[in-house]
Symmetry: C2
Subunit: 345 residues, 2 copies
Amino acid sequence: MSVQTSKAVFLNAYPNGLPELSSFEVKDIDLPEPGEGEMLCRTVWMSVDPYMRGRMNPHVKSYIPPFSLEKPLEGGAVSEVVASNNPAFSAGDYVVDFLGGWKEYYISKGERTQKVDPDLAPLSAYLGVLGMPGMTAWAGVTQILKPKEGETVFVSGAAGAVGSLVCQLSKSKGARVVASAGSAAKCEWLEKEAGVDVALNYKSYKNAGELTKALAEAAPKGVNCYFENVGGMHLEAALNCIALGGRIALCGMIAQYNNQKPEPGPSNLVNLIGRGVMARGFIVSEFMDKAMEFFAEVAPLLAQGKIKFQESVYEGLDAAPEAFLGLFKGENFGKAVIRVGPDRR
Amino acid sequence: MSVQTSKAVFLNAYPNGLPELSSFEVKDIDLPEPGEGEMLCRTVWMSVDPYMRGRMNPHVKSYIPPFSLEKPLEGGAVSEVVASNNPAFSAGDYVVDFLGGWKEYYISKGERTQKVDPDLAPLSAYLGVLGMPGMTAWAGVTQILKPKEGETVFVSGAAGAVGSLVCQLSKSKGARVVASAGSAAKCEWLEKEAGVDVALNYKSYKNAGELTKALAEAAPKGVNCYFENVGGMHLEAALNCIALGGRIALCGMIAQYNNQKPEPGPSNLVNLIGRGVMARGFIVSEFMDKAMEFFAEVAPLLAQGKIKFQESVYEGLDAAPEAFLGLFKGENFGKAVIRVGPDRR
């Protein structure tokens, strides 16, 4: 099979505020023949994730560098190896990597690439519950929060790809779980399917004070662990209710990613001091040496049906920008994935 | 010796904002005879510390409960045992406890009371470098920040009782130390006596942006460890300059303790995430099981003259409210202590 060109998505300019569809452009790019040690891959599923917004700021200082405007965007993908000069991979293998997103075909050196077992779980799960978002949730729960039986865990963005697994892993440790999400349908799923004790629809609360009151009622013994995906009034309410010796895993602050001017932080950070609280910001790559441990814990739970997940599926590479923008509008339920090409198995 | 009454300082009402001298009242209280297991103590030195402001808020949820309006205030003191029915202490012993502050005489059960060696260091040092502030600094440096050789440590409130020891302990670990303090004289002492690499007079900077610029110049490789005593623009500047994998010890936010309305937090908390930063609030009582370890590290450094400290001495119990208010006006240089009664040795 010979592929000369591929469709790929570029960023036109670094966005100021919420990106628009016009911030993105789908172009045809030329692909070279795969060289020594390289392989040609075809993207089957790609992922859009909130962290990508951070890579669209040109001056951000982070463990992940900003995107280039000169090259296609990149991100997590499940792909089929079409042709391989890399001894570790063969044509017909399915792989997950951090390169194949935002394109239909690409040349890979096989770096940060893992073969996946297509019979263990649906391929798209390797971008969600068994992929980077799942690993993020697992690392936050097991490496940072470490909830004990009977403690209360509060999770914002709880219906998302990361949050929904945080809820379920925390339940599996014997914690009481209070979740926040942005619609009645999401809250119903969290309580009925994901097993959380109380789900709060944050859109019912006008400000941090109202959310604090609801959270205090749902967590009468205080919040021992807070998993932060959202920022803003969620962080302020969590700090109002945090228990002595509390732990906070700071994973995302999606409410702020598109702010054009800086939004002040919560006024109650001082609670961290008197209550002896540890807050730890993290991105998942720090914990990659524990990927096998993650997989060993989560894959069996998934196989046994003890972990539920939801997906919002978009069709075709052209829909990728829309899927990405949906992350910031609360439009996606569970993991947002894009079917870029057919699964030919 | 028979003592029937003692002068003691009461809080008239929980203050709203900065307390005033009229918030305090010195009264005579009756003292009972010491009962079984009790002793009569005479306060020689007492301490005023910023954390006491937190205890003047009636509804604060913290490891330390609020002060009562019905009883004298309390706090750290070095006292002479006048008469003892407690087998662990004898008349003539010098002790440090958390009860004898804000009064001339008092009855103690000997709880949380340690004998001190009056020949090892000046008695007042047991309220500063060898006391609770010293232990606070030591815990923040050795248990939370753990600076490595060649890393950069930033310390706010650096000329204070806690900050000045944080600077010197960090230097002893081989770190580069950038300090912030509120006068040219304090900065000069920090650079010439305490050995810090760069001392910034924060009053030269109008806002967080200006302080960030100065800090970035003083810490060209970024801030690996931040010891927070102040809050406000200091925290914002530190978060702007924090390095990947940075650690923050949140010890105090003195700039905010007297705010009458909530002051927003910094707008750049999201830096904690991308840079993988751990922020840990603490109060020293959490680490009390390590007091011997603290003493074993700091006492020899002090005896060898490798640790310098400063004191602002106030004379007489009546001066205690003024000394306390001085904490929030930047008027004290080093540890503020009050000589309540004579050292009769």
